[in-house]
Amino acid sequence: MKSSISISNVNRIYKDSDGNRVEALKDVDLEIKSGEFISIIGPSGCGKTTLLRLIAGLDKPQTGQLFIDGAPITGADPSRGYVFQQGSLFPWLSVRNNIAYGLRARNVYRSKKENIENYIELVGLKGFEKSYPHQISGGMAQRVAIARALINEPKALLLDEPMGALDSFTRAALQDKLLELWKKDGTTIVLVTHDIDEAIYLSDRIVIMTPRPGKISKIIDVNLSRPRQRGSVSFLEMRRQILEFFELAQAIPQPEYNI
C-alpha cells in the first residue's frame, strides 16, 4: 500500500513578528508517484518544512490544492506518517509505549500489539524497550520516532530532517535502515534534508528549493543504480551538479568527506 501525492499551485504566506509577509511557498507544483523516494533539499528558510507540513495536513495553504491518491488533503491522518526534526517523542512514555502510541490512539492495540516487538527489532532497539526518551541517544530517539510512525503502516512517510542532529556514522547507519524499510514496504517517502549526499544516496528524485520566495527551482532524477556508492564517480558528478546549482561548486572544489 502506497500513496501518490499531488501538489498543485500551492501558496503559503506567513506573517513574521514585524508583520511583514513571508512567502514560505510560492506557486509550488509537484507530482510524487506512489512508491517513490523523494528528497527535498535547500538552504534553511526555503519552505521545506512548510511543504512537508502541508502534505501531512498539519497546515493549510492559502491558495492551491494538495491531493493524496486523488483526494484532497483536509487534515492530518495516520496513513501519512510524519517524523519531526527532533524531540517529538513523548518523554513520559517508554520507548515501547512511544512506539505503541499510534496503536492505542487508533484503538487497534489489542489486535496489533505483536507488531511492536517487530518494529523495535527492525530499528535495532531491542533491550531499550523500557528506557525513557531522555535515557537514550539522539540517534536512538530518531529511530524510535521512525518506528512510531511506521507502526501505523502509513502509505506515505514524511521525514523532516530526521537525521539532522546526528553524527555522520549514526546518520549513515540510519540511512541504510531507511532504505531497507523502503525496499521492504515500498512506502512513498518524502525526505527533507539539507545534506546533499544524503539526498543522492537515498532518493529517486531530488527536489531543489530556494528561498525568498520559497519555491521549487529544479528537480533532478537520480539515475544511479542501487545500492549506491557514496564515493563513486557518478555519485560525485551528481554532487558537483547540485553544488553548481547552488553556485557552491567553485567554493568547494573537493568533496568534504567520503564515507
Binding site: 498539519l58 501519512r80 517529538s88 513520559w92 512514555l93 490512539a105 525513557y132 512510531r148 510512525a149
Partner: protein, 346 residues
C-alpha cells in the same frame, strides 16, 4: 587455627568493626540520656504521678519517669537492631552510618532537655516541660489523643482529596479551553492568594456542620493552588507534542488524557506539594477556631488548662503525621514521575 585471611575477609571484618562502632556511637547518646535521668539529682520540685496499667490480670504500677526510661530503652533497642540488620544489608550501611551523628545528638539533646525541663527546671515552666511530662500526656490521655488524631486525619483526607480532584479537574478545563481560561483564570489568580481561613466566617454560616465547613476551607486552599498549576502545565505543552499525537491518529480526548495531562503532571505535583503545606495550616487553624475535635482542638483545649505538655505532645504527633503524609505524597510523585528521574533531581 587458620591465621591466613583473604583480602575479602579482612575487608568484611573491617566493615563489621566499622558498623559496630557506628552502632555504639548511635546509641551512646541515648545511654547518656538514661544515665543523666538516673544519676542526675532531682533538684526541682516535680511530682511524678503514678499510673497503673492493666495487662491481662496483671496490674503494673509505674511513674512517668520510668515510662521515659522505657522509651529511651526502646529507642536504643530499635537503633541497635536496625544497626545490626544494616551490617548484612550493604545498601543500608551507608545511610545508617550517616545518621549516626544526628542520632547521637538526639540522645544528648534529650539528656539536656531532661535536665533543663525536669531535673533543675531552668526552662520557663509550665511552657517547656521535660520529656517525661510529654510522655505523660500520651499515657494519661492516649485514647483521647488518638481520637483527635483520627478526627484530623478524617478532616484532612476529606478536604484534601476533594481539593485535589477539583483542582486537577478545573485546571484541565482552564488549560484546555481558551474560553474557560479567559473567564476563570483571572478569578483563580486573585482568589488563589487569599488564605483559605479568610473564608471562615462564610464557611461557618453557610455549612450545616462545622466539619463540612472545615472540609470546605481545606478544599478551597487545595483547589485554587492545584488548579492554577495544572492549568499552567496543560498550557505549556509544546505544540509539537499535540502535532505528533495528531499525525499518529490521536483525537482530542486522547490528546487530553495522554499528552496534556502527562505533560502537566510535574506541575500538578508541584501544586499538590504546596497545597499540602497550606492544607496543614488550614486544618489546624480551623480546628483551633471551631471544631469539636482534632489535634488543633486538642491544643486549644490543653492551652486553656495551661497543660503545655499536652500541647507539645500534640505538636509531636503533628510533626510525625504531616511528615508521613509528605512522605506518602513523595512516594506517589516518584512513582508517577519516574520518567523524569535523571532529568530533574526529584
Amino acid at each position: 587455627m587458620i591465621t591466613l585471611k583473604t583480602v575479602k575477609q579482612k575487608k568484611n571484618d573491617l566493615n563489621i568493626k566499622f558498623m559496630l562502632l557506628k552502632i555504639l556511637f548511635t546509641i551512646s547518646g541515648f545511654i547518656v540520656a538514661i544515665l543523666v535521668n538516673v544519676l542526675f539529682p532531682q533538684k526541682a520540685d516535680v511530682t511524678f504521678k503514678i499510673y497503673t496499667l492493666n495487662i491481662l490480670n496483671l496490674r503494673i504500677a509505674f511513674d512517668i519517669n520510668s515510662a521515659y526510661i522505657v522509651v529511651l530503652v526502646a529507642l536504643i533497642l530499635i537503633y541497635a537492631i536496625s544497626g545490626i540488620r544494616s551490617i548484612f544489608q550493604k545498601d543500608k550501611r551507608k545511610l545508617y552510618a550517616k545518621n549516626a551523628a544526628f542520632r547521637f545528638a538526639l540522645g544528648i539533646a534529650l539528656a539536656i532537655w531532661d535536665i533543663g525541663g525536669t531535673k533543675i527546671q531552668i526552662f520557663a515552666q509550665p511552657f517547656f516541660p521535660g520529656p517525661a511530662q510529654i510522655i505523660e500526656a500520651y499515657i494519661a490521655e492516649g485514647s483521647y489523643i488518638v481520637q483527635n488524631t483520627l478526627y484530623s486525619i478524617r478532616l484532612y483526607l476529606a478536604g484534601f482529596s476533594c481539593g485535589v480532584l477539583l483542582g486537577v479537574g478545573t485546571g484541565i478545563l482552564i488549560g484546555w479551553f481558551p474560553k474557560v481560561y479567559y473567564w476563570v483564570f483571572p478569578v483563580l489568580k486573585i482568589t488563589g492568594v487569599v488564605p483559605a481561613v479568610a473564608w471562615m466566617p462564610f464557611a461557618l454560616t453557610l455549612f450545616p456542620t462545622s466539619f463540612s465547613a472545615a472540609v470546605f476551607l481545606i478544599v478551597i486552599c487545595a483547589w485554587f493552588q492545584i488548579a492554577f498549576l495544572t492549568a499552567q502545565g496543560i498550557q505549556s505543552t509544546p505544540k509539537q507534542s499535540y502535532e505528533a499525537a495528531t499525525v499518529l491518529g490521536g483525537g482530542q480526548i486522547n490528546q487530553i488524557l495522554h499528552v496534556a495531562i502527562p505533560h502537566a503532571m510535574p506541575d500538578i505535583f508541584t501544586g499538590i506539594g504546596s497545597a499540602n503545606a497550606m492544607a496543614f495550616t488550614t486544618l489546624v487553624m480551623s480546628e483551633m477556631l471551631g471544631q469539636p475535635g482534632g489535634l488543633g482542638y486538642y491544643i486549644n483545649q490543653s492551652k486553656v488548662w495551661s497543660a503545655y505538655y499536652k500541647v507539645l505532645a500534640a505538636i509531636v504527633i503533628m510533626a510525625v503525621l504531616f511528615s508521613f503524609i509528605n512522605f506518602l505524597i513523595g512516594l506517589i510523585r516518584k512513582r508517577v514521575l519516574r520518567w523524569q528521574q535523571g532529568v530533574i533531581k526529584v
